[in-house]
Amino acid sequence: MHPIVKLVAQRLALGLLLLIAASALIFGLTEALPGDAAQAILGQAATPESLANLRAEMGLDRPPVTRYFEWLGGILTGDMGVALTNKLDIATSIQGRMANTLFLAFWAALISVPLAIILGLIAVRYQNRWPDKMISGITLASISLPEFMIAYILIFFFAVKLFWAPSFANISSSMSLLEQLHAIALPVAVLILVVLAHMMRMTRAAILNVMQSAYIETAELKGLSGFQVIARHAFPNAIAPIVNVVMINMAYLVVGVVVVEVVFAYPGMGQYLVDAVVKRDVPVVLACGVIFAAVYIILNIIADVVSIFTNPRLRHPK
């Protein structure tokens, strides 16, 4: 078997175990939170009688271990179950939410990843001169501002003052792609500003590190121009660390954007998870948690495989 296929198979098997461990941990922690779904739903309006009735209806009167294994049995047969709070099918709800999250993440990544790498290359080419300083200054400033602050600033200028883009991302499947893109213009802009700096700085640092090598000097002595040296000799050797950072940021775009979702009232996974945690809707929390964990695991596997492929020494181990 090719070593890479073996590695991926191993990683996937380990990932599965990790997912089960993560689900047990999430279940335990959600159970440890004060209150349960019945109390969270009834809130200030709870009476001992209505609490008991609601608990019985949700099956919360059974021991936690039973409930966990029932859930595990369900998910292994592909059944995510129904939400405790509103009895809606979790798989259907997640499908719509996940599609929205991926839609937002896709467009943010599509713009931000190439942009970050190009800016990183430019920064290296003009290292310590004004383009480098300007790129670093702007991206570091945007990452240093809290994302909701950037969001509010963009909303104020582009939605309230100029009416260029809607202030909240009201998307539905009946809209055309262009209308949908218009609706998510501001959240995508915020996400780009948030993830740009990390990837740009990593690209810059990784390539600068390679630039110290002897073969770069050789390339320069051959008479190659600055950009040719970077593109042909430095960049390929810097891909592994860059891909790692890109993957971390992609994972962030999928699982970490709840604040942006709230500010733009965007119906993604983050908001769904937060609501479920507040209402102690354990099956939904578990489903979201496992999906988020899976996203991290898969992106990490991709990052590893890509770094092996781009490094001949790892690709052909002795």
């Binding site: 004060p34 009834l42 309006a45 209505s50 719509g96 939410r97 809707d281």
Partner: protein, 528 residues
């Protein structure tokens, strides 16, 4: 100039002048924008409701865990949505008057124990089935039977028996209650086919709109019900409830014209927002109140002198000015204000009095150890700041308060009704009886001050059965004074509902029963 303006107003009423034209011409005549805006609104209102269009309400208080089962509604978005597709028997109007929805009329026996509600003739549910008194009875059964988890369980508990008689639904109460019709207007008690037993969340009711799509925590879309029984209301072709939980997102959506109305404008920005020319901020004083509650059965709050000391040590006006920014009124340590029918305004208003607070504190013999007040951001908007202000004003009277900040998460299950001294809020009820029954009767589940006084319970029951309003008012006055002087409630302020409404929406009228015209905005407003 007046003739000219009058002529312009008439043109608007006739539908021959747009808002932009009117404002422009009015400005040329030297009329300020605010005055012109009001004049335009008046003229447009005189033209009468316009049919069609879409109302988009941006509403705080929706989660992806929401359901369409009326028994479980607790936050604003499900209630706003429910007003579209469902109706209770009766409606309480802005001035406290009752009018019929599913019930056409109602009558009581002389002792107010037996109530008969006549179901409106010929109305149908949105699935085409006609509404019978049987459906009404099954609805009440679902909310009151022993499996009930309904938020209205406390309201329907007093029902002894129910029966139907042709198109009449008859309720017999265990004890007389002159206010029963008000209770039947509760938003949980939506009439559903067969009481909603088979599918409580089916969203099938008798409402003026029909649910078209529902994404919990995102939006609900409704279209006009062509078979609705009342053609004088519900003018929109379609209506949307859009969940906007973030305060800034909500105001931005209104300012950018993506929604037409929003609820819960933050008091601190209300005045700034009102300056925007395309909208107006609307506040209405309601019955909701923000409170500090003490358990009268737990030391040190079992000493009435200490309770009085704390009541005198809170600076009510300061709280209204700083926490509510003036959007509210001072409270008098009883849960009733002028928004209630039969309110006695002759009860003296308690004010901040350092000297009296210090005297009572001394008389209570308290050992001087810090008194712990629990608070959380979610207890009510500004609760943490309000607690800090209370701490300072109490400090000035020599009473040591210590603030313990609790997490929002689990506040209602772990702190409220469990800890002896904490911040909380009440939404208020349509009538005094219901407010007192919910939280001040000895046996009430939500008696969050542990106020248990047999003489109070007796007065409550006698007032409930009393059909003579003058006598009732007298009893309520005594009850109010008893809670004010001996209860565990510190009630510094009643909060206003603050909505903001686009100028495109006509017919807005404040309703003390709830925000957004008690959520009847899709029924009672229209777009000019």
């Amino acid at each position: 100039m007046n003739d000219k303006l009058e002529y312009m107003s008439k043109t608007v009423t006739a539908g021959k002048m747009t808002r932009r034209e009117f404002m422009g011409k009015a400005a040329a005549l030297g009329v300020s924008a605010a005055v012109a805006s009001t004049m335009f609104a008046d003229a447009a209102r005189a033209a009468g409701p316009v049919k069609g269009g879409t109302l988009r309400q941006g509403v705080q208080g929706g989660e992806s865990t929401n359901t369409q089962d009326p028994a479980l509604w607790a936050s604003d978005v499900p209630i706003a949505g429910g007003r579209h597709w469902a109706e209770p028997l009766l409606e309480v109007g802005p001035n406290g008057e009752l009018s019929g929805l599913v019930a056409e009329s109602y009558e009581a026996s002389a002792d107010a124990k037996v109530w008969r509600f006549k179901v409106r003739n010929g109305i149908t549910f949105s699935n085409g089935k006609s509404v019978t008194s049987e459906d009404v009875m099954r609805t009440m059964e679902r909310h009151s039977n022993e499996d009930s988890k309904s938020g209205a369980l406390g309201i329907v508990k007093g029902i002894e028996s129910m029966r139907t008689d042709g198109d009449v639904f008859e309720v017999t109460l265990a004890t007389a209650n002159a206010d029963l019709p008000y209770l039947m207007a509760d938003y949980h008690l939506m009439i559903q086919p067969d009481g909603g037993f088979d599918n409580p969340a089916a969203a099938i009711g008798t409402g003026a709109y029909i649910l078209e799509s529902d994404e919990p925590g995102v939006r609900q879309v409704y279209k006009r019900n062509p078979n609705y029984w009342n053609n004088d209301v519900a003018h929109y072709e379609s209506s949307e409830v859009i969940v906007l939980n973030d305060a800034t997102a909500r105001t931005a959506a209104l300012q950018s014209g993506q929604v037409d109305m929003i609820n819960r404008v933050e008091p601190k920005i209300a005045q700034l927002l009102d300056r925007a020319p395309t909208l107006s901020v609307q506040n209405v004083s309601g019955r909701g109140h923000y409170v500090f509650i003490m358990h009268v059965d737990t030391a040190p709050f079992d000493a009435n002198e200490l309770r009085l000391a704390l009541k005198y040590a809170v600076n009510r006006q300061e709280l209204v000015d700083k926490i509510l920014r003036g959007y509210g009124g001072v409270g008098n340590d009883m849960p009733i204000n002028a928004a209630y029918p039969l309110f006695d305004d002759s009860i003296p208003q308690r004010t901040y009095d350092m000297k009296k607070a210090a005297e009572h504190y001394k008389a209570s013999g308290h050992d001087g150890s810090p008194i712990i007040l629990r608070t959380a951001d979610g207890a009510f908007p500004g609760a943490v700041d309000a607690a800090a202000l209370f701490q300072q004003s109490a400090q000035a009277a020599g009473i040591p308060l210590e603030i313990k900040r609790e997490p929002n998460d689990g506040y209602w299950s772990e702190v409220w009704n469990k800890q002896p001294f904490c911040c909380s809020y009440w939404g208020g009820r349509p009538v005094q009886d219901q407010m007192y029954t919910t939280a001040y009767l000895s046996t009430a589940d939500w008696n969050d001050t542990k106020f248990k006084r047999p003489e109070f319970d007796e007065m409550l029951l006698s007032a409930r059965a009393e059909l003579d309003n003058a006598k009732r008012k007298e009893i309520y006055s005594k009850m109010g004074s008893l809670v004010r002087d001996e209860g565990g409630l510190i009630l510094p302020m009643f909060n206003d509902f603050i909505d903001a409404v686009s100028n495109k929406v006509q017919g807005y009228e404040g309703d003390p029963n709830g925000p957004m015209m008690n959520w009847y905005a899709p029924h009672k407003t229209w777009k000019a």
